[in-house]
Amino acid sequence: MQPSVGVSVPRVDGAAKVAGTALYVDDLPPLPGELHGVTVRSRVARGRLRGVTFDPAIDWSDVTIVRAEDVTPNVVALIVDDQPVLAADVIRHAYEPVVLLACADRAKLARAAAAVTLEVDPLPPILDPEAALSADAVVEGRSNLQKRYLITKGAADVGDEASLAAIEAALAGCEVVVRGRYTTTHQEQLYLEPQGLIARWDDHGVHVVGSIQCPYYVHKALTKGFDLPADRVHVTQAVTGGGFGGKEEYPSVLALHAALLARKSGRPVRMIYDRKEDLEATTKRHPAICDVATGCDRDGTLRVLAMRVVMDGGAYVTLTPVVLSRGALHAAGAYRWRDARIEALAAATNTPPNGAFRGFGAPQTIWAIERHLDAVARELGRDPLDLRRQNLLTIGDTTATGQKLAFSVAGLECLDKARADSGYDEKRRRGPVATGRVARGIGAATFLHGAGFTGSGERNLKGKAAVDLVAGGRLLIRTGSTDIGQGTETVFRQIVADAAGLPIGAVDYAPVCTTHVPDSGPTVASRTIMIVGSIVESAARKVAARVAAERDRAGGTFAEAGDRLIAAGEVTELVQYVSPDYVKWDDATYKGDAYPVFAWSCFIAEVDVDLDTFETTVVGFWSATDVGRAVNPVLCVGQIEGGALQALGWALTEEIVWKDGLIQNPRLTNYIIPTALDAPHMTTALIEEPFPFGPGGGAKGIGELPMDGGAPAVAAAIEHATGLSLGALPLSPERLLAASRRNAL
């Protein structure tokens, strides 16, 4: 039998996607009696809602109206229950949903939505996260400090109160101290399929089908929102046109809205956002302000790190504590520090809640530490990549949380590979090349990304998945893990096929519906292949062992023995994830094994900067990434390249422009993501340093990692080309021009 793992088998959902027959939510045929739903939003960042008026010129008789008083409990269930399903009397951000409408006639629905007037007494909005920490409450009765973490190591490990003075003392003892501030802005996931779903009620309860990353999150929100037993909520994922985190928590809100309209109207309700509403109302990447101070020896040995991170959580907590945690845990980068103090805070502001987006807090802090290392290199007169190489974590080192790295650490190999592939040394030695008014430069970032849930997360989550034996010697994978484009359905089949010794064609993937698949935990945190993949692998092994025992007993082929077993009763193996024993984590002190393992990478970008217009073009891009084991190399490379380009977009053009808490550019004409012409040719190398507990012979999670290194590599390349060092994203012509003016002073 040819193994499937390690082979780029064509993605199993590929044919339907290229033929145009794959059914995304809005491709599903209308249900009988179906209505369309829309949301009326506040349009004021902060205020008191005095009342709502419905223009009597409209005949409202065939329009279903849902308001806050129709909703009990009026809360979106997540980490903290602070977000109402519909605003009742207080407006806390400009896109707060206030009224829901449904109507069969879409044109009339649009007129009806325009005929709803919200009477709001505006209040001055709180928009600056640092100022918010000492401002009056965004959500009455709650602190604007949504969460705080402190990580300490070495000299700083003297308790919360004393740690600040201790780290400053450690810095004071260093030969070279460098300080800097690095900031990042909102970023929109911009999956090309806007959010949408269809809800209906029947004798079995509520049914929701839609563009969903985490069906069990939606299940939980509906169970709590309508006070239903779990078996009366049925959530099905339609083919999903990208998510990148954006369809992690937000679909819960949309599902509640559609289900409310469906319940009140007694009809199925379809709610599909248009691009503008999606860009305005759904979650975005948290902006962050990172203040960094480091101390090192004159020879470049890094010693001391102090970082303070402030993230803007937006009006409600949603997933901010988890995002902030991942940001804090990646703040030390891929480097050895003797002493470290990392303080991370999230503040509430009157802006739409920020949420999950590929990288989940890490790109912000890695931006800071990577930019900072370039500043240290400048201070020391060292090559930035040499300085990184000298300080990269290797086996036996401990991270800022005291995690001892024991295996699958290939940061150095990645650095060396990308360095060689890109011709970095020669290009650096040559210095920036100016051709006419264009300057060319090259720069790098090295980084790591933790795979799986943080700390004890996987242990608490207890993700489950099942493999069933079905007639004819076939296997059926049942999991709540979704394929949102990454290739989960294909890769899981490969893992299961090899575990059972079957061809990949003998393995099926059950449609993801919460009624029929177990909760494998959310499709997030670079955990799908590494964690859930290892569960389906072990379930497949168990099923295969039962078939093998039957063959030993009474002979026959896999299919014959399997069919005999099925005739005697259902054959299925439901497996729950077991964290490897070595993973030890203390939530109280934030110490221990933050992640079961890290993936490692080096990104190198080459840019042309037009010295008249300050426009930057990325002209070359090389990466080397330690993925543990590439189950499907083409899909794996696709993840890295796709994530890398999102990072390049964040670096150069993607910026949400705000005015008084309102978004000024909620369209694809003015929120600019890269085209094929903007994107560089990418050379992508995979390094395989297997993770002993990973499926398929050692796969690690890499879904988020490529978002981390793109922006700092581009900034470093711009610095090499122009001498302009920027600490704030995006690296726009306006910022470069301002920096050049400062330099000229």
């Binding site: 996607k17 399929e193 990208g242 490379v637 390249e641």
Partner: protein
């Protein structure tokens, strides 16, 4: 208003308002949901179809303007059982991830390859610059189109 047009080689007659967007006619009365909507304003290219052989954004074209003309959608390139080489190469080389940009991307690539049977990487990027993809970083799409160009030889036309 009655509109007659040719869709994927078949003669079709519609009774729709002439200002209905072509994408709505395709996805609604014509039952062709392969064509996707990503922005509704001509920016993303997910809705790309060929109108008399030229790529257009079907979200910007009123169906009335298509009377007597020929429209090709992704469904017209090849069926799931008979994928065209271009479609097959997108599957084999990682040109499709979430797949929502794919129908428009394929139609734009088809137009490119008819014009330029052996495009360079730069020509491919230029030819697909009106089609956004958020998943792939475009490199696998470029490889898919290159591979399709190889397979199609110098004929240009995309027959299987």
């Amino acid at each position: 208003m009655k509109v007659t047009l040719t869709v994927n080689g078949s003669h079709r007659e519609l009774d729709v308002p002439p200002l209905m967007r072509l994408i709505d006619a395709l996805r609604g009365p014509l039952g062709l949901t392969g064509t996707k909507e990503g922005c509704a304003e001509g920016e993303c290219g997910a809705c790309t179809v060929l109108l008399d052989g030229d790529p257009v954004c079907s979200c910007l074209v009123p169906v009335g303007q298509c009377a007597g003309r020929s429209v090709t959608t992704v469904e017209g390139l090849g069926s799931i059982d008979h994928l065209a080489p271009l479609q097959r190469m997108f599957v084999d080389h990682g040109g499709a991830q979430c797949g929502i940009c794919t129908p428009g991307m394929l139609v734009a690539a088809e137009a490119l390859l008819r014009r330029t049977p052996k495009p360079t990487e730069a020509e491919i990027r230029e030819g697909l610059a009106g089609n956004l993809c958020r998943c792939t970083g475009y490199q696998r799409i470029v490889e898919s189109v290159k591979a399709a160009a190889e397979l199609r030889g110098d004929r240009g036309e995309g027959a299987a």
